[in-house]
C-alpha cells in the first residue's frame, strides 16, 4: 500500500509537469484560434523551429541553451507574423476549407524545409544547465529539471497571456476582434494588427517552448506532430479559444497519460496474478482520446469553451 501511495504521488508530479508542457504547447494554438477562428496545423512546426533555433544558436554563441530562449521566442514571433502577412491574411478571404488546407500546406512546407536544411536524423542538446539534471524530492519522486522549467514557463506564460487578454486595452481589442471583427473595425481597432499580434504571441510562446523542450527531447523535422496531436486534443478539450481551458485540459491529459504506473502499482499491491499481463501503457493515448470524444459528445464547445 505504501508503494501505491508513493506511485500516486510520483504520477501526480509527473502528470502535472507533463500536463503543463502540453498546456504550453497548446497555448499558442488556442490564442490564434480564439482571435481568428483559424486552426493552425503548422503549430507543431513552429515548435520544431524553436527547438532547432536553440540547438543551432547555443553552440554558435557559446552560451547555455537556456539563454537562447528569448531568441527562440523572437524567431517564433517573427515566423508567426511572416506567416500571417505572407499567407493567412489571404486565406481569411477564402472559405473555412481554404484556411484548413492553407495551414496544412504551411505545415508540410516548413517540415520539408527543415528536412532540406537539417536532415532527418534526430538531434539532441548535449550540454546545458538543464540537460540530464533532475531533483529528487522524495523516495523515487523525481522532478526532471527540463520539465520543471517548462512547467514554470508554462504557468508564467498563461499568467501573462491571461493578463494581456483580460487586463489590458490590447487584450480588450483582441477579444473584440475575436467576437466581431467587423464591429471592432468600426470601433477603430486595427483588426489586421490584432491578428498579427495573435500570431506573434502564438509563435513566440511555442518558440520558447521549443527552445526549452530541446534540452530534453530529440528534435527532427517530424517532431511537431508528436506534440500537436496532443495540443489539438488539449485545445478542443479545454474549449477552442479558451486560455484557461488549455491550462486545465493540458494538466488533465498529463495526469491521464501518467495513470498506467498507478495501475501497475495497484496490480502489484493486490498481487493480481491474473491481471499481470494487462498492460495499459499502450492504451494511454487511447484514454486521452476517449475522454476527448466523450466531452465532444456531451459538451461540444469543450470544458471552458465560449465560442459556438
Amino acid at each position: 500500500m505504501e508503494e501505491l501511495g508513493i506511485q500516486i504521488l510520483k504520477s501526480l508530479v509527473s502528470g502535472l509537469l507533463m500536463g503543463l508542457v502540453f498546456a504550453l504547447v497548446a497555448l499558442g494554438l488556442t490564442v490564434i484560434f480564439g482571435v481568428m477562428d483559424i486552426v493552425n496545423f503548422a503549430h507543431g512546426e513552429f515548435l520544431m523551429v524553436g527547438m532547432y533555433t536553440t540547438l543551432l544558436i547555443s553552440p554558435l554563441l557559446g552560451v547555455d541553451p537556456v539563454l537562447t530562449l528569448p531568441l527562440a521566442g523572437l524567431v517564433g514571433a517573427v515566423l508567426g507574423v511572416l506567416c500571417y502577412f505572407g499567407l493567412i491574411r489571404f486565406l481569411l478571404r477564402g472559405p473555412m476549407i481554404a484556411q484548413l488546407f492553407g495551414t496544412f500546406g504551411l505545415m508540410i512546407f516548413l517540415r520539408n524545409l527543415a528536412l532540406l536544411f537539417m536532415g532527418s536524423e534526430p538531434r539532441i542538446v548535449h550540454q546545458g544547465w538543464l540537460v540530464g539534471k533532475s531533483i529528487v524530492i522524495g523516495p523515487g519522486v523525481v522532478l526532471e529539471s527540463t520539465k520543471l522549467a517548462v512547467a514554470v514557463l508554462s504557468l508564467l506564460s498563461f499568467a501573462v497571456v491571461w493578463w494581456l487578454i483580460n487586463r489590458t486595452k490590447v487584450g480588450k481589442a483582441l477579444t473584440a476582434t475575436s467576437l466581431d471583427a467587423e464591429g471592432a473595425r468600426y470601433m477603430g481597432i486595427s483588426t489586421e494588427l490584432m491578428n498579427a499580434l495573435a500570431w506573434a504571441v502564438g509563435g513566440a510562446s511555442v518558440g520558447v517552448a521549443g527552445g526549452l523542450l530541446v534540452n530534453f527531447w530529440p528534435v527532427d523535422p517530424g517532431v511537431g506532430l508528436l506534440f500537436t496531436m496532443i495540443a489539438f486534443a488539449t485545445v478542443a478539450l479545454g474549449g477552442f479559444g479558451s486560455v484557461r481551458g488549455a491550462l486545465v485540459a493540458g494538466i488533465l491529459i498529463g495526469l491521464i497519460v501518467n495513470l498506467p504506473p498507478v495501475w501497475d502499482a495497484i496490480l502489484r499491491s493486490i498481487d493480481a496474478v491474473g491481471l499481470r499481463g494487462l498492460d495499459i501503457h499502450s492504451f494511454k493515448y487511447t484514454m486521452v482520446y476517449a475522454i476527448y470524444f466523450l466531452i465532444m459528445v456531451l459538451r461540444p464547445q469543450g470544458l471552458f469553451g465560449w465560442k459556438q
Binding site: E3, Q7, K10, S11, S14, M18, V21, F22, L115, G119, S120, E121, P122, R123, I124, H126, G132, K133, S134, V136, G140, V142, E144, S145, T146, F216, W217, P218, D220, G222, V223, L225, L226, F227, I230, V257, N258, L259, P260, P261, D264, A265, R268, G277, D279, H281, S282, K284, Y285
Partner: protein
C-alpha cells in the same frame, strides 16, 4: 533467284544474330530496393542505402583487394557480365506506401526482384505484393519472426530474426550467472532474475515483447513488467516509472531511433539503476545513439555486425574500409545486413544464370553461400525450404555488443557475446544513472 539468295542471306544473318543476342543476355539487372529514406528511420535508411550501393559497386567492378567471389567478376558472370542497377524507393515507414511502391517497381520498372524493407511491418506488405505477382524478394534486415512463418514461396530472409536474438540474450544472462562472461565473476542469479521490458508497439517491437515473454518463462526469469509503447510518443515517463517500480535487475528495450534517445534521457532523469540495460539493435545501434556519450557506457545491444568484428574477419575489414571511404564511419548492423542482402541477390543471380522468376526461385532454394564470403560473422547463407519456417537463412547468428569507452576516449561497441569471441571484458554492473 536473286530474291531467293537475298532471303537466304537474311535468314543466315538472322540465324547468326539470334544466338548471339541470346548469349549476350540482359545488359542490366534491375533490383528494386525499398527502404525508409525519409521519416523517423531516415538515419537507418541512409546506412541501408549505402550498404546496398556498396555491394552493387563491388559486384559491378573488378576489385582485386576484396577477397569475395563477386568482386572478381565485374557484373554477373553467368549473365554475360550484366551489371546491377538499383532502383531505390522510399517507404517512409508506411506499410501501405511500401506495397504501392512494390507494385510500381514490378509493373512499371519491371524489376527482376526486390530487396528491403527494414521495417518488418513494411516488409510484410511488400512481400505480400511480391508473392501475388510471383516476383522474388530477399530481405536483409527485418527481424520479426512471423515473416518467414507464412509459407511464402517468393520470400527469403538472410538475417537471423528476433527469436534467435532474444534467445542469445537469455543465454547471455544465464552465462553471466555461471561466470562465463569475460572479466566478470559469476553473478548471483537473484541479482538479475527480475526483468522489465519496454518495446515499441509496431510489428517488430510487439513481436520482440512476445519473444521476451516466452524466453523469460523458458529460462525461469521473472518478467515483472512487459510494456508496449508508441515509438512516436511525446513522453515516456509513465513507462519508465513502471519499469523502475518493477525493481528489475535487467531492463530490456526494443526501440527505434528517436524513442531510444528519449528513453535513455528519461531513464537518466528518473535515476534508473538496473544492473543490465539491453537494447534489441535498431535505435540502440545508431550514430545518434552513440552521441549520448557517457550516458550509454555499459549499455548492451544485440547486433549482427560491430566494428570490432573487423578484428576477427579480414574480409569485413576490407569492405569496412571502402564503407568508411564512402560514408565517413564504420559499417553498422543496418548497413552490413543491407550489404549482405544485396550480395545474396548477386550470388543468387549468378547461380540462376537467368532473370526468370522460376530460375531465381530455384536458385534461392538451393543456394549455399559460405561464411568466408560474408562481412557478417555468420556460418553462411542457406535458406530453409521445409518445416514451419520457409525462406529463413538457417546459418545466421547474432552478437551482443557493449558500449565501452575506448583508449582514444571515444565510445565504441565491443563484442561481449558469444563469450568465446568477446573482444573486451564485460563492464558489469551497468553504472546506473
Amino acid at each position: 533467284m536473286r530474291k531467293i539468295a537475298l532471303v537466304a542471306a537474311i535468314a543466315m544473318l538472322a540465324a547468326m544474330l539470334v544466338p548471339a543476342m541470346a548469349w549476350a543476355g540482359p545488359k542490366e539487372i534491375k533490383i528494386g530496393v525499398i527502404y525508409p529514406l525519409t521519416g523517423p528511420a531516415a538515419a537507418a535508411g541512409r546506412e541501408l542505402r549505402a550498404g546496398a550501393e556498396l555491394a552493387a559497386d563491388i559486384a559491378n567492378q573488378v576489385m582485386p583487394g576484396i577477397n569475395m567471389d563477386m568482386a572478381k567478376n565485374g557484373g554477373v558472370k553467368s549473365l554475360g557480365g550484366a551489371k546491377l542497377t538499383l532502383i531505390f524507393k522510399d517507404h517512409q515507414g508506411n506499410p501501405q506506401l511500401g506495397a504501392d511502391l512494390a507494385k510500381k517497381l514490378i509493373l512499371d520498372d519491371k524489376v527482376v526482384g526486390i530487396l528491403g524493407c527494414y521495417y518488418s511491418s513494411v516488409t510484410k506488405t511488400v512481400s505480400a505484393v511480391c508473392e501475388r505477382y510471383g516476383v522474388p524478394m530477399i530481405n536483409g534486415s527485418s527481424t520479426s519472426p512471423t515473416l518467414t512463418k507464412r509459407g511464402f514461396k517468393w520470400f527469403w530472409r538472410t538475417t537471423p530474426h528476433d527469436k534467435w536474438f532474444t534467445k542469445d540474450l537469455f543465454e547471455f544472462l544465464v552465462g553471466l550467472t555461471k561466470g562465463k562472461a569475460k572479466g566478470v565473476k559469476a553473478v548471483p542469479r537473484e541479482e538479475i532474475n527480475t526483468l522489465a521490458a519496454a518495446c515499441e508497439k509496431t510489428e517488430w517491437g510487439s513481436n520482440v515483447a512476445i519473444e521476451i515473454k516466452n524466453f523469460a518463462k523458458e529460462y525461469g526469469f521473472n518478467l515483472a513488467a512487459n510494456i508496449l509503447y508508441a515509438a512516436k510518443s511525446p513522453d515516456l515517463s509513465s513507462e519508465v516509472q513502471s519499469l523502475i517500480a518493477a525493481k528489475p535487475g535487467a531492463m530490456l528495450f526494443a526501440s527505434y531511433t528517436s524513442d531510444a534517445l528519449l528513453m535513455i534521457k528519461t531513464l537518466k532523469s528518473m535515476k534508473a539503476k538496473p544492473k543490465i540495460l539491453w537494447g534489441q539493435d535498431a535505435g540502440f545501434d545508431k550514430p545518434e545513439f552513440v552521441s549520448l556519450g557517457d550516458d550509454i557506457v555499459g549499455v548492451l545491444t544485440r547486433s549482427v555486425f560491430l566494428p570490432s568484428v573487423v578484428k576477427m574477419k579480414p574480409l569485413s575489414g576490407q569492405v569496412n574500409d571502402l564503407y568508411v571511404k564512402k560514408m565517413g564511419h564504420d559499417l553498422d548492423g543496418a548497413s552490413a545486413r543491407a550489404f549482405t542482402g544485396l550480395q545474396t541477390w548477386v550470388y543468387v543471380l549468378e547461380k540462376a544464370g537467368s532473370t526468370e522468376p522460376k530460375a531465381i526461385q530455384a536458385a534461392c532454394n538451393t543456394i549455399s553461400i559460405p561464411g568466408n564470403q560474408l562481412v557478417v560473422p555468420w556460418v553462411g547463407i542457406k535458406f530453409s525450404t521445409k518445416g514451419d519456417e520457409i525462406g529463413q537463412n538457417v546459418l545466421g547468428g547474432g552478437l551482443i555488443g557493449q558500449y565501452q569507452k575506448q583508449k582514444d576516449g571515444k565510445i565504441g561497441l565491443e563484442v561481449v557475446y558469444p563469450f568465446d569471441i568477446a573482444t573486451a571484458p564485460l563492464v558489469y554492473p551497468f553504472q546506473g544513472y
